[in-house]
Protein backbone atom coordinates (compact mmCIF):
# COMPACT_ATOMS: atom_id res chain seq x y z
CA UNK A 1 0.00 0.00 0.00
CA UNK A 2 1.37 3.48 -0.93
CA UNK A 3 2.12 6.03 1.75
CA UNK A 4 2.81 3.36 4.38
CA UNK A 5 4.74 5.79 6.52
CA UNK A 6 1.59 7.82 7.19
CA UNK A 7 -0.63 4.82 7.86
CA UNK A 8 -2.46 4.74 11.13
CA UNK A 9 -3.64 1.57 12.84
CA UNK A 10 -6.68 1.49 15.12
CA UNK A 11 -7.70 -1.76 16.82
CA UNK A 12 -11.04 -2.86 18.27
CA UNK A 13 -11.96 -5.94 20.28
CA UNK A 14 -14.17 -8.14 18.11
CA UNK A 15 -16.20 -9.11 21.16
CA UNK A 16 -17.39 -5.53 21.78
CA UNK A 17 -17.28 -3.94 18.33
CA UNK A 18 -19.37 -4.98 15.32
CA UNK A 19 -17.76 -5.32 11.92
CA UNK A 20 -20.77 -3.62 10.27
CA UNK A 21 -20.22 -0.38 12.17
CA UNK A 22 -16.52 -0.38 11.26
CA UNK A 23 -17.38 -0.92 7.61
CA UNK A 24 -19.94 1.91 7.68
CA UNK A 25 -17.41 4.24 9.34
CA UNK A 26 -14.79 3.24 6.76
CA UNK A 27 -17.26 4.10 4.00
CA UNK A 28 -17.85 7.57 5.43
CA UNK A 29 -14.08 8.08 5.53
CA UNK A 30 -13.78 7.68 1.75
CA UNK A 31 -12.19 10.79 0.30
CA UNK A 32 -10.32 11.56 3.52
CA UNK A 33 -8.61 8.22 4.06
CA UNK A 34 -8.84 4.61 2.96
CA UNK A 35 -9.51 2.03 5.62
CA UNK A 36 -8.50 -1.62 5.34
CA UNK A 37 -10.13 -3.84 7.94
CA UNK A 38 -8.64 -7.19 8.91
CA UNK A 39 -9.54 -9.57 11.69
CA UNK A 40 -6.50 -10.75 13.65
CA UNK A 41 -7.40 -13.23 16.39
CA UNK A 42 -10.02 -11.49 18.55
CA UNK A 43 -9.34 -7.99 17.17
CA UNK A 44 -10.41 -5.95 14.17
CA UNK A 45 -7.40 -4.08 12.84
CA UNK A 46 -8.24 -0.92 10.88
CA UNK A 47 -5.36 0.47 8.81
CA UNK A 48 -6.08 4.07 7.78
CA UNK A 49 -4.21 5.71 4.91
CA UNK A 50 -4.88 9.43 4.34
CA UNK A 51 -5.66 10.53 0.79
CA UNK A 52 -5.18 13.91 -0.78
CA UNK A 53 -8.59 15.39 -1.53
CA UNK A 54 -8.96 19.15 -1.97
CA UNK A 55 -12.69 18.88 -1.19
CA UNK A 56 -12.16 17.34 2.22
CA UNK A 57 -10.71 18.78 5.38
CA UNK A 58 -7.12 17.70 5.64
CA UNK A 59 -6.75 14.63 7.78
CA UNK A 60 -3.01 14.31 7.44
CA UNK A 61 -2.67 14.93 11.15
CA UNK A 62 -2.70 11.35 12.46
CA UNK A 63 -4.29 12.25 15.75
CA UNK A 64 -7.05 14.23 14.04
CA UNK A 65 -7.67 11.32 11.67
CA UNK A 66 -7.80 8.84 14.57
CA UNK A 67 -10.30 11.01 16.48
CA UNK A 68 -12.40 11.51 13.35
CA UNK A 69 -12.49 7.77 12.71
CA UNK A 70 -13.38 6.98 16.33
CA UNK A 71 -16.20 9.55 16.15
CA UNK A 72 -17.48 7.89 12.98
CA UNK A 73 -17.36 4.46 14.63
CA UNK A 74 -19.17 5.81 17.70
CA UNK A 75 -21.88 7.26 15.48
CA UNK A 76 -22.21 4.02 13.53
CA UNK A 77 -22.53 2.05 16.76
CA UNK A 78 -25.34 4.38 17.78
CA UNK A 79 -26.98 3.97 14.37
CA UNK A 80 -26.88 0.19 14.84
CA UNK A 81 -28.60 0.56 18.22
CA UNK A 82 -31.25 2.81 16.71
CA UNK A 83 -31.83 0.40 13.81
CA UNK A 84 -32.17 -2.54 16.17
CA UNK A 85 -34.83 -0.67 18.16
CA UNK A 86 -36.75 0.92 15.28
CA UNK A 87 -36.61 -1.45 12.29
CA UNK A 88 -39.89 -3.07 13.32
CA UNK A 89 -41.82 0.15 13.70
CA UNK A 90 -40.24 1.54 10.51
CA UNK A 91 -41.68 -1.43 8.62
CA UNK A 92 -45.10 -0.86 10.20
CA UNK A 93 -45.04 2.82 9.16
CA UNK A 94 -43.96 1.90 5.60
CA UNK A 95 -46.73 -0.70 5.43
CA UNK A 96 -49.24 1.88 6.68
CA UNK A 97 -48.02 4.31 4.02
CA UNK A 98 -47.57 2.08 0.99
CA UNK A 99 -48.25 -1.56 1.74
CA UNK A 100 -51.06 -3.90 2.63
CA UNK A 101 -51.98 -1.88 5.72
CA UNK A 102 -52.50 1.18 3.51
CA UNK A 103 -54.87 -0.84 1.32
CA UNK A 104 -56.71 -2.06 4.40
CA UNK A 105 -57.18 1.53 5.59
CA UNK A 106 -58.44 2.63 2.18
CA UNK A 107 -60.96 -0.21 2.09
CA UNK A 108 -62.62 0.88 5.33
CA UNK A 109 -66.05 2.53 4.91
Amino acid sequence: MGGATTDLVVEFGAAVQSLGALQAAAYRLIGSATCQIDQVADHFVCRLTPVNNPNKKSSHDSEALRIHFLDLVTDENLRERIAARTDGVRNVILALAFGSLASAQNDRP
Binding site: P54, D71, V89, R90, I93, A102
Partner: protein, 467 residues
Protein backbone atom coordinates in the same frame (compact mmCIF):
# COMPACT_ATOMS: atom_id res chain seq x y z
CA UNK B 1 -42.64 4.28 25.38
CA UNK B 2 -41.25 3.36 21.97
CA UNK B 3 -38.47 4.88 19.89
CA UNK B 4 -39.47 5.89 16.36
CA UNK B 5 -37.07 5.77 13.38
CA UNK B 6 -34.60 8.64 13.37
CA UNK B 7 -31.43 9.73 11.62
CA UNK B 8 -28.65 11.94 12.93
CA UNK B 9 -25.43 13.70 11.97
CA UNK B 10 -22.79 15.36 14.10
CA UNK B 11 -22.98 19.14 13.79
CA UNK B 12 -20.12 20.62 15.80
CA UNK B 13 -20.74 19.86 19.46
CA UNK B 14 -24.39 18.95 18.97
CA UNK B 15 -26.30 16.53 16.77
CA UNK B 16 -28.76 17.31 14.02
CA UNK B 17 -31.56 14.75 14.29
CA UNK B 18 -34.45 14.13 11.89
CA UNK B 19 -37.50 11.90 11.99
CA UNK B 20 -38.78 9.73 9.15
CA UNK B 21 -40.16 12.70 7.19
CA UNK B 22 -37.25 15.06 7.75
CA UNK B 23 -38.40 17.31 10.63
CA UNK B 24 -35.19 18.55 12.24
CA UNK B 25 -34.29 19.00 15.91
CA UNK B 26 -30.90 19.67 17.52
CA UNK B 27 -29.84 17.54 20.49
CA UNK B 28 -26.71 17.30 22.62
CA UNK B 29 -24.79 14.03 22.63
CA UNK B 30 -26.16 13.24 26.07
CA UNK B 31 -29.73 13.96 24.95
CA UNK B 32 -29.37 11.76 21.88
CA UNK B 33 -28.07 8.83 23.92
CA UNK B 34 -30.79 9.28 26.56
CA UNK B 35 -33.38 9.36 23.80
CA UNK B 36 -32.12 6.19 22.11
CA UNK B 37 -32.08 4.41 25.48
CA UNK B 38 -35.54 5.87 26.26
CA UNK B 39 -34.22 7.45 29.46
CA UNK B 40 -36.77 10.25 29.14
CA UNK B 41 -39.80 11.11 31.24
CA UNK B 42 -42.67 13.57 30.84
CA UNK B 43 -41.59 16.92 32.25
CA UNK B 44 -37.87 16.55 31.62
CA UNK B 45 -37.95 18.71 28.49
CA UNK B 46 -36.34 16.10 26.27
CA UNK B 47 -39.48 13.95 26.33
CA UNK B 48 -41.57 16.88 25.10
CA UNK B 49 -38.99 17.80 22.45
CA UNK B 50 -38.78 14.21 21.18
CA UNK B 51 -42.54 13.66 21.29
CA UNK B 52 -43.22 16.85 19.32
CA UNK B 53 -40.62 15.82 16.73
CA UNK B 54 -42.19 12.35 16.30
CA UNK B 55 -39.10 10.61 17.64
CA UNK B 56 -40.94 8.69 20.38
CA UNK B 57 -44.44 7.42 20.89
CA UNK B 58 -46.38 5.94 23.78
CA UNK B 59 -46.72 2.18 24.13
CA UNK B 60 -49.85 1.11 22.27
CA UNK B 61 -50.39 4.54 20.72
CA UNK B 62 -50.98 4.41 16.97
CA UNK B 63 -51.51 8.09 16.14
CA UNK B 64 -47.82 8.97 15.69
CA UNK B 65 -47.23 5.99 13.41
CA UNK B 66 -50.31 6.76 11.35
CA UNK B 67 -49.38 10.42 11.10
CA UNK B 68 -45.86 9.60 9.91
CA UNK B 69 -47.28 7.12 7.38
CA UNK B 70 -49.78 9.68 6.12
CA UNK B 71 -47.09 12.34 5.76
CA UNK B 72 -44.73 9.92 4.02
CA UNK B 73 -47.49 8.87 1.64
CA UNK B 74 -48.34 12.48 0.87
CA UNK B 75 -44.68 13.41 0.27
CA UNK B 76 -44.34 10.62 -2.29
CA UNK B 77 -47.73 11.07 -3.94
CA UNK B 78 -45.96 11.93 -7.20
CA UNK B 79 -45.63 8.17 -7.68
CA UNK B 80 -49.38 7.91 -8.13
CA UNK B 81 -49.27 9.96 -11.33
CA UNK B 82 -46.03 9.01 -13.04
CA UNK B 83 -44.38 10.78 -15.95
CA UNK B 84 -46.08 14.17 -16.03
CA UNK B 85 -43.22 15.70 -18.08
CA UNK B 86 -42.53 14.85 -21.73
CA UNK B 87 -39.57 16.53 -23.40
CA UNK B 88 -39.56 16.75 -27.19
CA UNK B 89 -36.14 17.46 -28.71
CA UNK B 90 -37.49 18.89 -31.94
CA UNK B 91 -34.02 19.66 -33.28
CA UNK B 92 -30.42 19.36 -32.19
CA UNK B 93 -29.46 22.36 -34.30
CA UNK B 94 -28.49 25.58 -32.56
CA UNK B 95 -27.13 28.95 -33.69
CA UNK B 96 -25.25 29.40 -30.37
CA UNK B 97 -21.94 27.67 -29.62
CA UNK B 98 -21.82 27.65 -25.82
CA UNK B 99 -18.70 25.97 -24.42
CA UNK B 100 -20.69 24.50 -21.53
CA UNK B 101 -23.59 23.29 -23.72
CA UNK B 102 -24.90 20.12 -22.12
CA UNK B 103 -26.58 18.68 -25.20
CA UNK B 104 -23.73 18.77 -27.73
CA UNK B 105 -25.67 20.86 -30.25
CA UNK B 106 -25.22 20.56 -34.02
CA UNK B 107 -25.12 23.49 -36.36
CA UNK B 108 -25.83 21.97 -39.76
CA UNK B 109 -27.94 19.51 -41.72
CA UNK B 110 -31.60 20.13 -41.04
CA UNK B 111 -32.72 16.72 -42.33
CA UNK B 112 -30.33 14.86 -40.04
CA UNK B 113 -30.97 16.69 -36.76
CA UNK B 114 -34.69 17.65 -36.87
CA UNK B 115 -37.54 15.53 -35.48
CA UNK B 116 -39.74 14.00 -38.18
CA UNK B 117 -43.55 14.12 -38.16
CA UNK B 118 -43.71 10.36 -37.70
CA UNK B 119 -41.41 10.48 -34.67
CA UNK B 120 -43.46 13.31 -33.17
CA UNK B 121 -46.71 11.40 -33.69
CA UNK B 122 -45.37 8.26 -32.00
CA UNK B 123 -43.92 10.31 -29.13
CA UNK B 124 -47.26 12.01 -28.54
CA UNK B 125 -48.96 8.63 -28.32
CA UNK B 126 -46.51 7.58 -25.61
CA UNK B 127 -47.01 10.86 -23.75
CA UNK B 128 -50.77 10.40 -23.67
CA UNK B 129 -50.43 6.76 -22.56
CA UNK B 130 -48.75 7.94 -19.33
CA UNK B 131 -51.11 7.79 -16.33
CA UNK B 132 -50.84 11.48 -15.34
CA UNK B 133 -54.07 13.39 -15.73
CA UNK B 134 -52.12 16.56 -16.49
CA UNK B 135 -49.02 16.35 -18.66
CA UNK B 136 -46.49 18.97 -19.63
CA UNK B 137 -44.86 18.96 -23.05
CA UNK B 138 -41.55 20.79 -23.10
CA UNK B 139 -39.79 21.63 -26.36
CA UNK B 140 -36.01 21.51 -26.20
CA UNK B 141 -33.05 21.45 -28.52
CA UNK B 142 -30.56 22.55 -29.72
CA UNK B 143 -32.65 25.63 -30.20
CA UNK B 144 -36.24 24.42 -30.63
CA UNK B 145 -37.39 27.55 -32.45
CA UNK B 146 -35.19 26.43 -35.37
CA UNK B 147 -37.91 23.82 -35.92
CA UNK B 148 -40.90 26.01 -35.05
CA UNK B 149 -43.20 24.35 -37.65
CA UNK B 150 -42.81 21.06 -35.78
CA UNK B 151 -43.65 22.76 -32.45
CA UNK B 152 -46.85 24.11 -34.00
CA UNK B 153 -47.78 20.67 -35.35
CA UNK B 154 -47.16 18.96 -32.01
CA UNK B 155 -49.14 21.56 -30.02
CA UNK B 156 -52.11 21.25 -32.38
CA UNK B 157 -52.04 17.45 -32.32
CA UNK B 158 -51.59 17.35 -28.53
CA UNK B 159 -54.58 19.64 -28.01
CA UNK B 160 -56.75 17.37 -30.13
CA UNK B 161 -55.48 14.22 -28.41
CA UNK B 162 -55.88 15.76 -24.93
CA UNK B 163 -59.53 16.48 -25.66
CA UNK B 164 -60.09 12.93 -26.85
CA UNK B 165 -58.54 11.20 -23.83
CA UNK B 166 -59.64 13.79 -21.23
CA UNK B 167 -56.20 14.96 -20.08
CA UNK B 168 -54.95 18.49 -19.48
CA UNK B 169 -51.79 19.50 -21.32
CA UNK B 170 -49.38 22.39 -20.73
CA UNK B 171 -46.61 23.52 -23.07
CA UNK B 172 -43.18 25.05 -22.50
CA UNK B 173 -40.59 26.12 -25.04
CA UNK B 174 -37.02 26.18 -23.66
CA UNK B 175 -35.35 28.70 -25.93
CA UNK B 176 -32.47 31.16 -25.97
CA UNK B 177 -35.04 33.60 -27.49
CA UNK B 178 -32.65 34.69 -30.24
CA UNK B 179 -35.26 33.68 -32.83
CA UNK B 180 -38.29 34.94 -30.90
CA UNK B 181 -40.50 37.08 -33.11
CA UNK B 182 -44.10 38.30 -33.19
CA UNK B 183 -45.27 35.13 -34.96
CA UNK B 184 -43.88 32.91 -32.21
CA UNK B 185 -45.25 35.21 -29.49
CA UNK B 186 -48.71 35.24 -31.05
CA UNK B 187 -48.65 31.45 -31.22
CA UNK B 188 -47.57 31.19 -27.56
CA UNK B 189 -50.29 33.62 -26.50
CA UNK B 190 -53.07 31.83 -28.32
CA UNK B 191 -51.95 28.41 -27.05
CA UNK B 192 -50.94 29.33 -23.48
CA UNK B 193 -47.34 28.28 -24.13
CA UNK B 194 -44.79 29.23 -21.47
CA UNK B 195 -41.27 30.32 -22.39
CA UNK B 196 -38.20 29.30 -20.44
CA UNK B 197 -34.87 30.87 -21.30
CA UNK B 198 -31.26 31.11 -20.21
CA UNK B 199 -29.82 34.23 -18.65
CA UNK B 200 -26.39 33.97 -17.09
CA UNK B 201 -26.12 37.55 -15.83
CA UNK B 202 -24.89 40.88 -17.19
CA UNK B 203 -24.09 41.23 -20.89
CA UNK B 204 -20.36 40.53 -20.79
CA UNK B 205 -20.76 37.39 -18.65
CA UNK B 206 -23.76 36.07 -20.59
CA UNK B 207 -22.10 36.69 -23.97
CA UNK B 208 -18.87 35.06 -22.81
CA UNK B 209 -20.80 31.98 -21.73
CA UNK B 210 -23.09 31.95 -24.75
CA UNK B 211 -21.23 32.87 -27.93
CA UNK B 212 -23.16 33.27 -31.17
CA UNK B 213 -22.50 35.03 -34.47
CA UNK B 214 -22.68 38.75 -33.74
CA UNK B 215 -21.88 38.26 -30.05
CA UNK B 216 -25.34 39.54 -29.13
CA UNK B 217 -26.87 36.64 -27.20
CA UNK B 218 -27.58 38.83 -24.14
CA UNK B 219 -29.20 41.57 -26.19
CA UNK B 220 -31.49 39.07 -27.92
CA UNK B 221 -32.32 37.21 -24.69
CA UNK B 222 -33.19 40.35 -22.72
CA UNK B 223 -35.16 41.81 -25.61
CA UNK B 224 -37.02 38.50 -25.85
CA UNK B 225 -37.74 38.48 -22.11
CA UNK B 226 -39.16 42.02 -22.28
CA UNK B 227 -41.29 41.23 -25.32
CA UNK B 228 -42.59 38.02 -23.77
CA UNK B 229 -43.46 39.86 -20.55
CA UNK B 230 -45.40 42.47 -22.56
CA UNK B 231 -47.22 40.09 -24.87
CA UNK B 232 -47.68 36.96 -22.73
CA UNK B 233 -47.56 38.39 -19.22
CA UNK B 234 -44.71 38.34 -16.67
CA UNK B 235 -45.67 34.93 -15.28
CA UNK B 236 -45.37 33.28 -18.72
CA UNK B 237 -41.59 33.72 -19.04
CA UNK B 238 -38.91 32.33 -16.72
CA UNK B 239 -35.13 32.27 -16.88
CA UNK B 240 -32.43 29.92 -15.66
CA UNK B 241 -28.76 30.67 -15.09
CA UNK B 242 -25.78 28.37 -15.12
CA UNK B 243 -22.76 29.00 -12.93
CA UNK B 244 -19.45 29.00 -14.77
CA UNK B 245 -16.04 29.82 -13.33
CA UNK B 246 -16.53 33.39 -14.59
CA UNK B 247 -19.74 33.69 -12.51
CA UNK B 248 -18.19 32.79 -9.18
CA UNK B 249 -17.29 36.29 -7.94
CA UNK B 250 -20.22 38.07 -9.65
CA UNK B 251 -23.31 36.67 -7.96
CA UNK B 252 -24.64 40.10 -6.90
CA UNK B 253 -24.42 41.36 -10.51
CA UNK B 254 -26.21 38.24 -11.74
CA UNK B 255 -29.03 38.73 -9.22
CA UNK B 256 -29.23 42.43 -10.14
CA UNK B 257 -29.67 41.50 -13.80
CA UNK B 258 -32.66 39.31 -12.90
CA UNK B 259 -34.12 42.14 -10.82
CA UNK B 260 -33.57 44.65 -13.62
CA UNK B 261 -35.55 42.42 -15.95
CA UNK B 262 -38.40 42.01 -13.44
CA UNK B 263 -38.01 38.23 -13.36
CA UNK B 264 -39.85 36.51 -10.54
CA UNK B 265 -36.83 34.96 -8.81
CA UNK B 266 -33.53 33.28 -9.57
CA UNK B 267 -32.29 29.68 -9.58
CA UNK B 268 -28.60 29.67 -8.67
CA UNK B 269 -27.64 26.47 -10.49
CA UNK B 270 -24.32 24.69 -10.75
CA UNK B 271 -22.94 23.46 -14.06
CA UNK B 272 -23.97 19.90 -14.96
CA UNK B 273 -21.35 17.30 -15.93
CA UNK B 274 -22.66 16.55 -19.43
CA UNK B 275 -22.04 17.40 -23.08
CA UNK B 276 -19.69 20.22 -23.98
CA UNK B 277 -19.32 21.10 -20.30
CA UNK B 278 -17.19 17.94 -20.09
CA UNK B 279 -15.56 18.15 -23.52
CA UNK B 280 -14.38 21.72 -22.92
CA UNK B 281 -13.45 20.89 -19.31
CA UNK B 282 -15.69 23.76 -18.10
CA UNK B 283 -17.02 21.41 -15.43
CA UNK B 284 -13.59 21.03 -13.84
CA UNK B 285 -13.11 24.75 -13.27
CA UNK B 286 -14.76 24.76 -9.83
CA UNK B 287 -15.88 22.23 -7.23
CA UNK B 288 -18.78 22.04 -4.80
CA UNK B 289 -16.89 24.16 -2.25
CA UNK B 290 -16.46 26.99 -4.77
CA UNK B 291 -20.07 26.74 -5.84
CA UNK B 292 -21.33 26.70 -2.24
CA UNK B 293 -19.43 29.91 -1.47
CA UNK B 294 -20.99 31.48 -4.56
CA UNK B 295 -24.40 30.18 -3.50
CA UNK B 296 -24.17 31.34 0.11
CA UNK B 297 -23.21 34.86 -0.97
CA UNK B 298 -26.00 34.88 -3.54
CA UNK B 299 -28.63 33.63 -1.09
CA UNK B 300 -27.70 36.25 1.51
CA UNK B 301 -27.88 38.96 -1.15
CA UNK B 302 -31.30 37.69 -2.31
CA UNK B 303 -32.49 37.73 1.33
CA UNK B 304 -31.30 41.34 1.64
CA UNK B 305 -33.52 42.21 -1.34
CA UNK B 306 -36.48 40.39 0.18
CA UNK B 307 -35.98 42.32 3.44
CA UNK B 308 -36.84 45.50 1.50
CA UNK B 309 -40.28 44.03 0.84
CA UNK B 310 -39.77 42.70 -2.68
CA UNK B 311 -40.76 39.04 -3.10
CA UNK B 312 -37.86 37.54 -5.02
CA UNK B 313 -37.19 33.89 -4.13
CA UNK B 314 -34.10 31.82 -4.82
CA UNK B 315 -35.56 28.66 -6.33
CA UNK B 316 -32.98 26.07 -5.18
CA UNK B 317 -33.63 27.10 -1.58
CA UNK B 318 -37.36 27.18 -2.26
CA UNK B 319 -37.34 23.55 -3.44
CA UNK B 320 -35.62 22.35 -0.27
CA UNK B 321 -37.72 24.60 1.98
CA UNK B 322 -40.93 23.26 0.47
CA UNK B 323 -39.74 19.75 1.29
CA UNK B 324 -38.84 20.85 4.82
CA UNK B 325 -42.05 22.73 5.61
CA UNK B 326 -44.72 20.91 3.65
CA UNK B 327 -45.59 17.32 2.87
CA UNK B 328 -46.75 18.09 -0.64
CA UNK B 329 -45.14 16.06 -3.43
CA UNK B 330 -42.67 18.07 -5.51
CA UNK B 331 -42.29 17.68 -9.24
CA UNK B 332 -38.55 18.39 -9.30
CA UNK B 333 -37.07 15.20 -10.73
CA UNK B 334 -33.50 15.59 -9.37
CA UNK B 335 -34.57 15.70 -5.72
CA UNK B 336 -36.62 12.59 -5.32
CA UNK B 337 -36.16 8.94 -4.50
CA UNK B 338 -37.31 6.79 -6.29
CA UNK B 339 -35.45 8.80 -8.91
CA UNK B 340 -37.34 10.88 -11.44
CA UNK B 341 -35.84 9.07 -14.45
CA UNK B 342 -38.77 7.80 -16.51
CA UNK B 343 -41.14 8.14 -13.57
CA UNK B 344 -40.81 11.94 -13.64
CA UNK B 345 -40.01 12.57 -17.28
CA UNK B 346 -39.43 10.94 -20.64
CA UNK B 347 -37.35 12.50 -23.40
CA UNK B 348 -38.13 11.93 -27.07
CA UNK B 349 -35.04 12.67 -29.09
CA UNK B 350 -35.11 14.14 -32.60
CA UNK B 351 -34.01 10.74 -33.98
CA UNK B 352 -36.80 8.73 -32.30
CA UNK B 353 -34.79 7.44 -29.35
CA UNK B 354 -36.42 7.69 -25.92
CA UNK B 355 -34.42 8.58 -22.82
CA UNK B 356 -35.19 8.42 -19.12
CA UNK B 357 -34.13 12.03 -18.56
CA UNK B 358 -32.76 15.05 -20.36
CA UNK B 359 -29.35 14.44 -18.78
CA UNK B 360 -29.53 10.82 -20.01
CA UNK B 361 -30.01 12.16 -23.51
CA UNK B 362 -26.99 14.42 -23.00
CA UNK B 363 -24.89 11.41 -21.99
CA UNK B 364 -26.01 9.56 -25.11
CA UNK B 365 -24.73 12.45 -27.25
CA UNK B 366 -21.38 11.71 -25.57
CA UNK B 367 -21.63 8.02 -26.54
CA UNK B 368 -23.08 6.62 -23.30
CA UNK B 369 -26.43 4.87 -23.85
CA UNK B 370 -27.07 3.87 -20.22
CA UNK B 371 -30.29 5.89 -19.98
CA UNK B 372 -31.60 5.14 -23.47
CA UNK B 373 -34.83 3.21 -22.88
CA UNK B 374 -35.80 2.41 -26.45
CA UNK B 375 -37.59 4.12 -29.31
CA UNK B 376 -40.83 5.96 -29.97
CA UNK B 377 -42.10 2.82 -31.72
CA UNK B 378 -42.59 1.24 -28.28
CA UNK B 379 -45.41 1.70 -25.80
CA UNK B 380 -45.27 3.76 -22.60
CA UNK B 381 -45.47 0.61 -20.50
CA UNK B 382 -42.66 -1.17 -22.30
CA UNK B 383 -40.40 1.86 -21.80
CA UNK B 384 -41.23 2.66 -18.17
CA UNK B 385 -41.52 -0.94 -17.00
CA UNK B 386 -38.33 -1.98 -18.80
CA UNK B 387 -35.82 -3.96 -16.75
CA UNK B 388 -33.23 -1.34 -17.60
CA UNK B 389 -35.18 1.52 -16.01
CA UNK B 390 -36.40 -0.50 -13.04
CA UNK B 391 -32.83 -1.66 -12.31
CA UNK B 392 -31.51 1.91 -12.42
CA UNK B 393 -34.27 3.22 -10.16
CA UNK B 394 -34.18 0.27 -7.78
CA UNK B 395 -30.42 0.30 -7.39
CA UNK B 396 -30.20 4.01 -6.63
CA UNK B 397 -32.85 4.41 -3.91
CA UNK B 398 -31.57 6.75 -1.21
CA UNK B 399 -33.78 4.91 1.26
CA UNK B 400 -31.29 2.03 1.16
CA UNK B 401 -28.11 3.36 -0.51
CA UNK B 402 -24.93 3.36 1.59
CA UNK B 403 -24.69 6.50 3.74
CA UNK B 404 -27.97 7.89 2.31
CA UNK B 405 -29.85 5.27 4.31
CA UNK B 406 -28.73 6.93 7.55
CA UNK B 407 -28.36 10.48 6.26
CA UNK B 408 -30.15 13.12 8.32
CA UNK B 409 -30.94 15.04 5.11
CA UNK B 410 -32.36 12.06 3.18
CA UNK B 411 -36.00 13.20 3.30
CA UNK B 412 -35.05 16.41 1.47
CA UNK B 413 -32.65 14.92 -1.05
CA UNK B 414 -32.78 12.72 -4.14
CA UNK B 415 -31.06 9.81 -5.84
CA UNK B 416 -29.95 11.39 -9.16
CA UNK B 417 -28.54 8.21 -10.73
CA UNK B 418 -27.70 10.04 -13.97
CA UNK B 419 -25.38 12.48 -12.19
CA UNK B 420 -23.67 9.70 -10.25
CA UNK B 421 -23.35 7.52 -13.34
CA UNK B 422 -21.85 10.47 -15.25
CA UNK B 423 -19.36 11.35 -12.52
CA UNK B 424 -18.58 7.96 -10.94
CA UNK B 425 -19.79 5.39 -13.52
CA UNK B 426 -22.19 4.08 -10.86
CA UNK B 427 -25.88 5.05 -10.50
CA UNK B 428 -25.63 4.84 -6.71
CA UNK B 429 -22.34 6.68 -6.40
CA UNK B 430 -19.96 6.87 -3.46
CA UNK B 431 -21.63 9.66 -1.55
CA UNK B 432 -18.51 10.79 0.35
CA UNK B 433 -17.06 11.67 -3.09
CA UNK B 434 -20.28 13.06 -4.58
CA UNK B 435 -20.40 16.77 -5.41
CA UNK B 436 -24.19 16.44 -5.60
CA UNK B 437 -24.22 15.18 -2.02
CA UNK B 438 -21.85 17.92 -0.85
CA UNK B 439 -24.02 20.59 -2.47
CA UNK B 440 -27.24 19.26 -0.99
CA UNK B 441 -25.78 19.04 2.49
CA UNK B 442 -24.18 22.45 2.14
CA UNK B 443 -27.35 24.20 0.99
CA UNK B 444 -29.54 22.49 3.61
CA UNK B 445 -27.08 23.36 6.39
CA UNK B 446 -26.99 26.96 5.22
CA UNK B 447 -30.79 27.14 5.29
CA UNK B 448 -30.92 25.59 8.76
CA UNK B 449 -28.33 28.06 10.01
CA UNK B 450 -30.34 31.02 8.69
CA UNK B 451 -33.60 29.58 10.07
CA UNK B 452 -32.04 29.21 13.52
CA UNK B 453 -30.05 32.44 13.76
CA UNK B 454 -31.90 35.12 11.80
CA UNK B 455 -35.59 35.57 12.64
CA UNK B 456 -36.19 38.11 9.87
CA UNK B 457 -34.59 35.95 7.18
CA UNK B 458 -36.24 32.85 8.64
CA UNK B 459 -39.64 34.47 8.10
CA UNK B 460 -38.73 35.05 4.44
CA UNK B 461 -37.53 31.46 4.01
CA UNK B 462 -40.74 30.14 5.58
CA UNK B 463 -42.78 32.15 3.08
CA UNK B 464 -40.75 30.68 0.21
CA UNK B 465 -41.41 27.25 1.69
CA UNK B 466 -45.14 27.84 1.60
CA UNK B 467 -45.74 28.38 5.30
Amino acid sequence: MELLPLRFERAGKSYLVSNMVGDFVRLSGDELNRLVDLRVRPGDGLYEKAYAAHLITGEGQTAQRQLLALRLRSRMAYLREPTPLHIFVVTLRCEHSCPYCQVSRQSTDRSKFDMSEETARHALNIAFESPSKRIKIEFQGGEPLLNFPMIKNIVAAARTQAGTVGKAVDFVIASNLALLDDTVLAFCKSNGVLLSTSLDGPADLHNKNRPRPGGNSHELATRGIRRAQEVLGPEQIGALMTTTEASLDRVEEIVDEYLRLDLDGIFLRPLSPYGFAVKTKAIRKYNSKGWLEFYARGLRYVLEINRTGRHFPEFYATLILKRMFADRPLGYVDLRSPAGIGLGALVYNYDGKVFASDEGRMLAEMGDQTFELGSVAQSYRSLVFSDKLLDLIGSSLTQCAPECLDCVYEAHCGADPVYHHATQADPVGMKPLSEFCARQKGVTNLLLEILETSPQDAAILRRWGGM
